[in-house]
Symmetry: D2
Subunit: 137 residues, 4 copies
């Protein structure tokens, strides 16, 4: 069972991740090991060529990992990204971007996750990374 609801996590992350705070980032579903999120489309996400920018995708991937960490561990807001790696597969169109973050290993000191990013039901990027937990966690 997740320790926090999708709604609570959305509120917490909107309060801490700058790009999420305009209400574009929403956690749709969580369970104890994963979080499904969406980033509502906005013109500011575009780059030259009319597709979503790389940083937009990385920001959503990172926020989705954070959401999965909060769902699993509860309100550990001081959890921070330790490393992050992403492969871009195709250019996402100017529309909402979806992300599913999945915990591969939930340790005491750190958490390893993968993220799949989808645009119009198609996989557009794949990321993996580690979140470090605060010592008290």
């Amino acid at each position: 069972m997740p320790k926090l609801t999708a709604h609570t996590i959305t509120t917490l992350i909107r309060g801490t991740v700058p790009s999420a705070e305009q209400g574009q980032f929403t956690v749709l579903n969580v369970n104890a090991k994963s979080a499904e999120c969406v980033l509502i489309y906005d013109d500011s996400q575009l780059r030259f060529g009319g597709t979503l920018s790389g940083p937009t995708m990385m920001t959503l991937a990172d926020a989705a990992m954070y959401a999965a960490v909060l769902a699993h561990y509860g309100e550990q807001l001081l959890a921070v990204t330790q490393d992050f790696s992403i492969h871009f597969l195709s250019k996402p169109a100017a529309t909402d971007l979806h992300a599913t973050a999945t915990i591969l290993k939930a340790g005491k000191r750190s958490v390893v996750l993968t993220v799949h990013l989808y645009s119009q039901q198609q996989l557009v990027a794949h990321a993996s990374g580690t979140y470090a937990l605060p010592r008290s966690a």
Copy 2:
């Protein structure tokens, strides 16, 4: 010799990278193999805990790589990030963030780069990645 000046690259990137467009991102120096950039501090870059957010650092790292690619190849605005990997070393304070991107290999189809991110003269993150060049490049 770089193919474009730091000033021209700043203008080009501010026009294409959303987070750069508010005038916070500036290319300070370029040569044929590297670009030195700064992201002027702004409250929207903070995350819980009072330090700069991970996505803020990733966005600057990606923009600095892009700057080095443009300096080396000229106005190849359709160059896109293919893969990106970052290790966060320490939490940057609420102040300007500096980045130096260096080209390790400049190929015909892709470019491999590393980026060092500095806050108050201290290394706070290290990234590496590949930019794919458009076929016509």
Copy 3:
């Protein structure tokens, strides 16, 4: 449909990947998008602590990606690893190691894959990487 059988790919890879040539590496199953492989246990794979070494896992992961590339594209032996990234999740015991490589994107110039490594049915590492295809491919 895969372009080569698991048996043919095993023979090809044993002929080209040093650590595979002693007959420890075997492709068990392939389809057009993935390859399932095993590395038969051998004392030389151990490291201090009695678990399989990191390089042993990386070598199997790389060979499994190569197997999936050959299954998809046919005998493109000059395909080479362009980038590779791995997270180690837990220490594998002194026994056979399994790997499943899956193609996320099969392009004309490069292929992006992920690999899941299993020891005793448990996920012990997760990797992702890019193989570059020879120009003639």
Copy 4:
């Protein structure tokens, strides 16, 4: 000052990293933050095309990181690779391969490093990674 000499580290690693044990792997120089190593050429390192295999390069990179960790922390043989990421830049010829591993951040729980791999004085690969330290460290 390093806590162990290059000679001691060579002996320790040859005893724990399988591919190093045939005497091909040697630590040439260490200081408190880096280790310079060489892998003596051997036919078993080749892959199809007559160049050194990817796993050969990854194995050397990992061993060089381990050498730098031992130089900095002393005989922490249970330090293990947590994550590892590499970009291959060009194909190394059939000759000795050199590696320099540098510590970017030496923490209490983990160490972040980069590795530069050279063949005939030319940079052929760039890696970065994290070593996790045993709790007692």
